[in-house]
């Protein structure tokens, strides 16, 4: 006797949810998970809170629009960071950005960062030295080239692996290493100016 209705299993079909499952189905969850990280990266890169907020919003808007182009050849985090980086590049290329960067009152300077330095386990003198060192390093990060700065931030703030950084920036791994070594060397030189002579080898 024939069945009146056909079940999906009869047609050897997977459930619809299993076929179309995508990391972008829960865009709200994705946003909640990655927004702090993307905002942090953009804030430290452009040093402007308002601009970082705008670019973060644009990043997730572009993620939603381009979700169908995600092929899964890298992690979602890498893909989102790449979109954020592209937005940042296209924005900072414009002349208007340079003007507004000068005029912006929402810029993040060294004092913004050093005010958030933890004092736990340090004496007052050690805290003062750490305060000065951090300010010096933060200034030297600003002096890096954009690529050196991006690699540095992705490695030492976001703690990405070098292969992930290469995938994010769409550059070969040796190039990433070169940028990182050069950037780190400049930061070391700036930091060494504050280090007492007796500590040096």
């Amino acid at each position: 006797m024939l069945q009146e209705t056909l079940e999906p299993a009869d047609l050897n079909l997977l459930p619809q949810s299993a076929v179309t499952a995508s990391p972008f189905d829960d865009i709200a969850g994705l946003h909640a998970l990655y927004e702090p990280r993307i905002f942090r990266f953009l804030l430290l890169s452009c040093r402007d809170r308002d601009l970082a907020l705008t670019l973060t919003q644009d990043t997730f808007l572009n993620v939603w629009r381009a979700r169908s182009t995600f092929r899964g050849d890298c992690s979602v985090a890498t893909w989102i960071t790449r979109i954020a980086l592209n937005l940042l590049r296209s924005h900072t290329r414009s002349e208007a950005f340079r003007f507004w960067k000068r005029a912006a009152n929402s810029s993040v300077d060294a004092s913004d960062l050093t005010n958030h330095l933890s004092q736990s386990g340090r004496s007052a003198e050690q805290h003062l030295i750490a305060h000065q060192s951090l300010a010096k390093v933060w200034e030297s990060v600003e002096q890096l080239t954009p690529r050196q700065r991006t690699v540095f931030l992705l490695r030492f703030v976001e703690e990405l692996e070098l292969t992930e950084i290469a995938a994010t920036m769409n550059l070969p791994l040796p190039t990433i290493k070169t940028h990182l070594y050069r950037g780190l060397d400049r930061i070391r030189a700036a930091h060494a100016e504050l280090t007492p002579r007796k500590d040096r080898p």
Binding site: L43, L113, N115, H116, S133, V157, A189, D199
Partner: protein
């Protein structure tokens, strides 16, 4: 003097390990501080940004309320204004033609018929003809 490749590798790949090199240890400590402070600063800015729109909305509502009050105050004044009525321009009285009776019209026609022919319409006289002939013979 630059860091050696070994030192850079140590920074990159063994961030948590202590080193006998004081400069390397110091640099590693600063980089750790940088990360910690960056996370805290970004959290602070993000939480502050979520507060700012509420203030901005408050300011926006205050601006709208002020504008509405000003509009309400200005509206009665606008309606209270009475423009001076425009006086209609009186048309200049046209002189009405006098009524012409049929008898008067007939009398005028008769007068015209009986009138003498104007001098300009009179036929040419012979004097003019002879003078012209004399001029031709000369």
């Amino acid at each position: 003097m630059s860091l050696s490749t070994e030192q850079l590798d140590a920074l990159l790949h063994q961030p948590e390990q202590s080193s006998s090199d004081p400069e390397l240890t110091s640099l590693r400590a600063v980089l750790t501080d940088l990360r910690t402070a960056s996370l805290a600063a970004a959290n602070h800015h993000q939480s502050r940004a979520s507060i700012v729109p509420a203030r901005a909305h408050g300011a926006l509502w205050a601006a709208f309320a002020t504008a509405a009050v000003l509009l309400c105050a200005a509206t009665p004044l606008a309606f209270h204004h009475h423009p001076t009525p425009i006086q209609p321009i009186a048309a200049a009285p046209q002189p009405r033609p006098a009524a012409i009776t049929d008898d008067a019209l007939f009398a005028d026609v008769q007068a015209d018929i009986n009138a003498s022919v104007p001098s300009s319409l009179l036929p040419l006289t012979n004097d003019t003809t002879t003078s012209t002939t004399q001029k031709d013979t000369q």
